[in-house]
Symmetry: C2
Subunit: 460 residues, 2 copies
Amino acid sequence: MARVTFPPALLLALQTAFGTRVSIAAAVREHHGRDESPFDPQLPDAVVFALSAADVITVVQLCAQYRVPVIPYGSGSSLEGHLLAIRGGVSLDVSGMNRVLAINAEDLTATVEPGLTRKALNEALRDTGLFFPIDPGADASIGGMAATRASGTNAVRYGTMRENVLALGVVLADGRLIKTGTRARKSSAGYDLTRLMVGSEGTLGVITEVTVRLYPQPEAVSAAVCAFPSMGDAVQAVIETIQLGVPVARVEFVDALAVRAINRHSKLSLRESPTLFFEFHGTDAGVAEQAQRVQEIAADHHGEDFEWSVRPEDRSRLWNARHNAYFAMLQLKPGCRAVTTDVCVPISRLAECVIETERDLQRSSLPCPIVGHVGDGNFHVAILIDPERPEELQEAEQINQRIVRRALAMDGTCTGEHGVGLHKMGFMLEEHGNDAVSVMRAIKQALDPLNLMNPGKIFD
Amino acid sequence: MARVTFPPALLLALQTAFGTRVSIAAAVREHHGRDESPFDPQLPDAVVFALSAADVITVVQLCAQYRVPVIPYGSGSSLEGHLLAIRGGVSLDVSGMNRVLAINAEDLTATVEPGLTRKALNEALRDTGLFFPIDPGADASIGGMAATRASGTNAVRYGTMRENVLALGVVLADGRLIKTGTRARKSSAGYDLTRLMVGSEGTLGVITEVTVRLYPQPEAVSAAVCAFPSMGDAVQAVIETIQLGVPVARVEFVDALAVRAINRHSKLSLRESPTLFFEFHGTDAGVAEQAQRVQEIAADHHGEDFEWSVRPEDRSRLWNARHNAYFAMLQLKPGCRAVTTDVCVPISRLAECVIETERDLQRSSLPCPIVGHVGDGNFHVAILIDPERPEELQEAEQINQRIVRRALAMDGTCTGEHGVGLHKMGFMLEEHGNDAVSVMRAIKQALDPLNLMNPGKIFD
C-alpha cells in the first residue's frame, strides 16, 4: 500500500497547534512505527502527543483536511502490526491522556482517558475494594485494549473488553466527538455503538474516553495447579468444571514444553506434563469448596499432584510463574523472537485442535510451547524463531496458517484476543465470508469515507 | 409517515412462492399490526409465514424489488410499537421457524431459529442440566429478544441479550445471508456485527438464526424477600450487596402499591412497604452463605421480616408472585391498560430517581405501581389508564417523558430493555446527541439504502 505524501503545510499546522508536542525525530518515529509483532517497522511521518480530546479533534481535523492517515498509539504493546504506519501519516500518541476521570464505586464503574494503563487503573482503585480484571500480558493502555477487544486470563469469569466497556468517547474521522453510551448497566436505546467501536482497531475513530466496569476484590483468592497425563484429560477436566458451574476465575493450560521453560525460569519443579493452573475467587468457604470440587474433577481425569494454595506468597509464586511464561519460553532459544498464534475454538473442539496442532508442531524444527486460556477455548503457540533467519519466520507463518485454518474448520476464530491488525487480514474472508466482510467495509466506508483512520488494518 | 403502495404484482409473486403461507385476511393482518404497546394497530398489507432462511431471503428480495417494507414478527410481545406497519408492507412472521438447530452442551451454547420462544428453548434443554437465563416477562421469541436487546430479572448475574448472543444469521436488506460470528466464546476478528445486529430492531436485517450462551442449572436455588421502611433503604441494601460481590442471581424491587396488588392477586400477606425479592444460585453451602450475607446487609438498612426459602414450593410461591406482578397490577384498576416506562440509571442514582418519580406520581390521579430490576438500575412504572379516556393516555405519556428526562439527567438511558420502537424515538437525540445518532443513521443508510427494513423505527 503506497504511502501518502506528507504535506509540509500539515506539519506546520501541527507545529503551530502543538509546538514541541509534535515530533519528526527519527527515534520518535521509529518508536511509533513498530509494535510487538514480528513485522518490520513502518514509520509515521510525524508523532503528536495529545493531552486532551480537544487535541485529538485538532489532529483528526487537520489530517482530514490534508488527507493524511491518523494512527492512534497507546502503549505500543499490540501484537499484530496494528501500529505500523503502512501509508505514513500521523501517529497520535495518547499515552499522555492518562487521567482517571471518575471512579464511581457505588456503580462499579470508572471513566478513564485512553492512555491510562490497566495496572495504573488498578493502582488508582487500590483503596476502593474494587478492581479491573482484564489482563492481557502487557501493561496495555485501556484505550488500546478497547480498540483490540483484549482479554487475558480472567476472561472465563469476568469477560473481555466486549463485556466490560460501558461507554466510549470517540473522535470520528471528520473530527466530531461522540459518546457511545451512558453509565447505565444496560440499554436498548438504538445501535450498540460501544460494541461497534470496541475491536475496531482505530479504523473508525480515535478513542478519547473509556468507561469500564469494575468488580469487588474477592474476599478470598486461592490457586491450584494440577498435572495431567495428556492434553485431552486436562481439557475434559476444564469442560466438566465449567459445565458444573464452578465459577473459576482463571484456568490456564500450559503444555509440557512450556512447563519446562517455567521451571527453569521461575526455579520451580512442576511435573513436566500438560498442566492446568486455576485461580478461585469468592468467600473463604467458597474458594475452599471450588478447589475441592475441581480437585475431584481433576482426579476423575487422571490429574496428579494437585497442589492448592491459599497463602498469598504461594499463589503469587504459581501465578507469577504462569504470567512469566512468555519470557520463560523465549529463553528456550537464546536470542529468539516469538511468533504468537491466537486462535479460539468452541471448548468442545479444543483438545482436538491442540492435539492436531501438537502433531503438526512435532514436524517442525522450531520450539513451539503452548499456553492457553483454556476456559475460553483460546490458546497461543509461541513459535520461537531466529530473527536473522527468514526461513524460520516463513515456517512460523506456515504453522500459523495451518493452525488458523484448523480453528476455522472447527467453528473458531483466527484471533481470540490480539486483533486483526495486518497479520490476520488474510483470514477475514475465510472466517466471516465475503458478505459479512462487505458489511464491515460498508460501515468503514460510511464512517471514514476518505480511509484515513488507521488505513489498511482489518481489511485493505 | 406515508404508507407505501402495495403492488398487486408483489402479492402475486408472494402467492406464487408461498401459496397459503401468504395471507391478506383482515384478521391475520390485524393480529400482525399490533404489539403489547398502547399504540393503535397499523396493519401490514400482507403476512408471510416463513419456515426457513430461504423463505426469508425470498421475501426480502421480492420486497426490495418492489420497494416495499419488511417487518419481522416473532411472538408479538414487543412493548414499544416495534411491529406496527406504519408504512405498510409485509409482516414476515418467523414464528414457524422454531427449531432447535443444535445444543452444544459441552460448549454451553445452543443454536436456534428465531421463532423459538425462550420457554420452548428451556423445555428443550431440560435434560441437559443447562438453561437459558434471559427472561423478559413474556414468552418472547429468541429472535425478537435479540432484536430488542432484551433482558429481565436474571440480568444482574447473567447479563442481557447483548452478553448472551454469540452469533446470528441475518438476511440483509438486499437478500444476502450473513453469519455474524462463530461459536468461539470470544473473538477479536473485526467489527462486532453480532452486537450491531442485537438491538437493531429489524432495521438492519432479518434474524434467521441465533446462537446463545447457556448456563449450568444451579445445584441449589434459594429465595428471600425483605421489606424496608423506604425505597432508599432498599436500594442502599442492594448497592452494598453488589459492591460486596455477593453473586445474587436476581434482586427485584417492588413498591408498596405493587406489593398490595401482589398480595391481592397471589393471596399473600407481605408487608405493604418497599420490598426486595432475592434469588440465590450456587451450591447448598453457597446459597446459604449468600442469604446470610444479604440478611445482615438488609438488617443494616432497616430491613424487616426477612424471609428465606429453600423449599421449591416456597420459592415458587414468592417468585410466581413477583412474576405475576404485571397482571396483579392491572387488577388495581379494572379494565385498565398499562403504559410501562423502562428507564435505567447508574445504580447510585436509582434511589434518587425512584424517589423523585414517586413524588411526581403522587400528583397524578392514576395508580402507578413500580417494580424494578434494581441490581441493574432499571425500573418500570406501570401507569394504569382507562383506554377509553384519551386524557389518561396523555397524562401517562407526560409522566413517562418526565421519568425519561430525569433518567437522562442522571446519565441513564430511556430504555433499559424494551427497545426504542416508535415510543422512544423522540428521546434518541437527547440521549445520544446529534452526532452519535447520525452515526447510527449512516450505518442504517449503508446497510439499508432503500429504508425497507422495519422503516420508521428507532429513528425516522
